[in-house]
């Protein structure tokens, strides 16, 4: 499995190479961009996308999709900000936990609808996407929660630096580490792959497929709730349209990172690299003198290119199996 040539062939390695080449190209135009300090800034900028992409990866691994993450983020962010504005005396960690817990609850709603009623996840999350964002409007009455209304401690936490990196970046690192452990080393994590790879076989292997899907939605919701706090405190403002359309960026990061939309294939490392890839492009365009207005079409083109490459890779694998089967049959005959 870990022989050098397979490692080199792995999607993550390819993506890493593509990312390095991209950074090299950017360095030709703007050498300052690739300094460690700036790269750390890019990582911090991408932290929220990374965290959400990891949650989305869990969902996509089980052949589902969660379109409601950005709306979940907006609702939990708004709720957290309003709670902080109303009760500045509440400790910040408690508020962070409350946001994450609320996100978990919203994710559980998605998960239950998919698991218990058996609705297609795309329909469920399309519905909850509008409901969550609508709820953010109802909750706030369409008002903004501005910087001066939130307590300084609430806003400062993600920005405080530890060992040269802001807490926001460390949180992303922690989520990456934990998720990598859970995805590869726990039964619950492996169940995600099993259910996505072959749901029927997973059930025969004794895996509760519905519960695995439910857990994936819970994780996605939990991380979206955490990001709700992070987003609002980082940008120091909460309003209804926070992160509008961000769910598609999150899915794009997963897809670029080689998470297969048909389930069962993907890794935390891939999702992180996919998110970083988008983050680098977003941050580099103004630096290399491309109008930021072109960013959207460039990321669109990259998504398409990444899907083409990934689909090719998957198909090539299928052919090899077929050929071996042919050889075996010939030998038997």
């Amino acid at each position: 499995m870990t022989a050098p040539h397979t490692l080199l062939k792995s999607r993550e390695a390819l993506l890493l190479i593509a990312g390095t080449v991209l950074l090299g190209l950017i360095a030709l135009r703007a050498p300052d961009f690739v300094t460690p300090g700036n790269l750390a800034t890019v990582f911090t900028d991408s932290a929220i996308l990374i965290i959400l992409a990891i949650g989305q990866t869990a969902v996509i691994l089980t052949r589902s999709i969660d379109l409601s993450v950005a709306a979940n983020l907006a609702l939990t962010g708004m709720a957290g900000a309003m709670l902080n504005a109303a009760h500045p005396e509440l400790p910040v960690p408690l508020l962070v936990l409350a946001s994450a817990g609320m996100g978990l609850g919203l994710g559980a709603v998605n998960g239950l609808l998919v698991w218990r009623i058996g609705l297609p996840s795309i329909v469920v999350t399309l519905g909850t996407l509008t409901i969550f964002r609508g709820a953010a409007f109802v909750l706030s009455g369409g008002e903004w929660v501005n910087t001066f209304q939130m307590s300084p401690a609430y806003l400062a936490l993600p920005r405080e630096t530890l060992l040269g990196l802001p807490v926001l970046a460390w949180l992303a690192v922690a989520v990456i580490g934990l998720a990598a452990l859970v995805f590869t080393r726990t039964a619950a994590g492996r169940a995600l792959y099993a259910v996505g790879g072959n749901p029927v076989a997973a059930v025969y292997a004794g895996i509760d497929a519905g519960r695995a899907v439910f857990r994936a939605f819970c994780l996605s919701g939990l991380l979206a709730g955490l990001c709700g706090y992070l987003w609002v405190s980082r940008f120091a403002v909460a309003y209804v349209d926070v992160a509008a359309g961000f769910e598609l960026d999150v899915i794009a990061a997963c897809v670029i990172g080689g998470v297969s939309i048909s389930g069962g294939v993907g890794s935390v490392a891939g999702a992180v690299l996919g998110a970083l890839f988008l983050g680098v492009i977003k941050n580099a365009l103004p630096v290399v003198g491309v109008s930021p207005f072109w960013q959207m079409s460039i990321s669109g083109a990259i998504i398409i290119a990444a899907v083409i490459l990934n689909t090719r890779a998957e198909r090539a694998k299928g052919r090899i199996i077929l050929r071996r089967l042919d050889v075996g049959q010939e030998a038997g005959a």
């Binding site: 609705l119 519905g127 598609l248 207005f293 959207m296």
Partner: protein
């Protein structure tokens, strides 16, 4: 079930620790309650429309007015026209998330041709051709390159709208030739707007195509089982390509109407429409997994969403509250038949 019951004590006699086999009901006939409910999906939507209609006319004295109702059609016909085409794509087991992106790019291109001083027919044609071209890109990605359509069209959604942003930046096109306003603001006869007339004609065409031609049957066969369809000699890829092309054209047409109605183009035009249009199709009873659905269902769903939005608007309910209602309705309407089926299964299981 009656066959299985005597087996349970048999297993217990052998003293096995294993739990008795789960009772399984294998129906020997179609699930009657579910099938009837599915058949009456349109009836359900129709009842919903009547309810909304009655509630609206009771709640607001301004609702029941021919001109008011005619105005009401404007806020959903453009989306509904795209929904008609998208219904075919979803019926064939694919999806197109890029429709709003196509509307934005097509509108930008129309803006550019209008800015170049070209006359109305050329401007409108440019919009339609742009839509067709975008549809062709989607079709090629999904059929020739065999990409999953949901990912491919998320990519092209960014690409198309991104091109609109790249070309237009934070600017806007606001100068359109004189006759151009007809497509979005003109009336064919009395209170019948050009938009609504076009929608009705296209709905008839789509209904005819889906329910009375071999093509419609082909589309549904592909959605039910693409592999079986391919082995039956159906040209799966070619049909899918045509469907994406048609959706691109429909988005182009919607773009002509919307641009003409607003009289201006910004890159953010029709933001979020893709989700509303998909909602419309799914609410219309088209299964997101393909194969099942009707055009009357989609038309009724468009009316439900349009009347609800308009009626609540007259009552000064904010747009975002309506989106909550539409979102909840989407989940409820899809969950309803599944829940009834589960309930009827459970009832049958508990019955002796």
């Amino acid at each position: 079930m009656t066959m299985l019951t005597p087996n349970a004590p048999f297993a217990a006699d052998h003293g096995r620790d294993a739990p008795p086999p789960p009772v399984r009901v294998i129906p020997d006939r179609a699930d009657a309650p579910f099938a009837t409910l599915l058949k009456s999906w349109e009836a359900l939507l129709l009842a919903l429309i009547l309810a909304i209609f009655t509630a609206n006319s009771l709640a607001s004295p301004y609702f029941l007015d021919v001109w008011n109702l005619s105005d009401a059609t404007f806020n959903f016909t453009e989306k509904a026209i795209v929904a008609l085409a998208l219904a075919f794509v979803i019926l064939a087991g694919e999806i197109d998330i890029s429709v709003a992106g196509i509307i934005a790019l097509s509108s930008t291109i129309m803006g550019a041709t209008a800015a170049a001083g070209l006359p109305t027919p050329v401007v409108a044609a440019a919009g339609l051709v742009a839509g067709l071209a975008c549809g062709a890109v989607n079709g090629l990605l999904v059929t020739t390159l065999e990409l999953p359509s949901i990912v491919a069209t998320i990519g092209t959604m960014s690409l198309f709208r991104g091109l609109a942003y790249g070309l237009l930046g934070d600017g806007a096109y606001t100068r359109y030739p004189d006759g151009f306003s007809y497509f979005g603001q003109g009336y064919v006869w009395e209170w019948l707007s050009f938009e609504f007339a076009a929608f009705l004609a296209l709905a008839l065409l789509a209904g005819f195509l889906l329910h009375h031609t071999a093509f419609g049957r082909t589309v549904r066969a592909i959605g039910h089982n693409p592999t079986a369809a391919a082995f039956s000699g159906l040209r799966v890829r070619r049909v899918k390509f045509w469907l994406f092309l048609a959706t691109g054209l429909a988005a182009g047409l919607a773009s002509v109407m919307l641009t003409s109605r607003l009289g201006s183009t910004r890159p953010s035009i029709a933001t979020g429409w893709e989700l509303e249009i998909v909602t419309m199709v799914v609410l219309g009873g088209v299964s997101i997994t393909g194969g099942v659905g009707t055009i009357p269902g989609v038309v009724l769903a468009a009316l439900v969403m349009g009347l609800l939005t308009f009626g609540l608007g007259l009552l000064n309910v904010s747009g975002i509250i309506m989106s909550i209602i539409v979102g909840a309705m989407l989940i409820a309407v899809i969950a309803l038949p599944i829940l009834t089926r589960k309930l009827s299964l459970r009832l049958r299981r508990s019955a002796p």
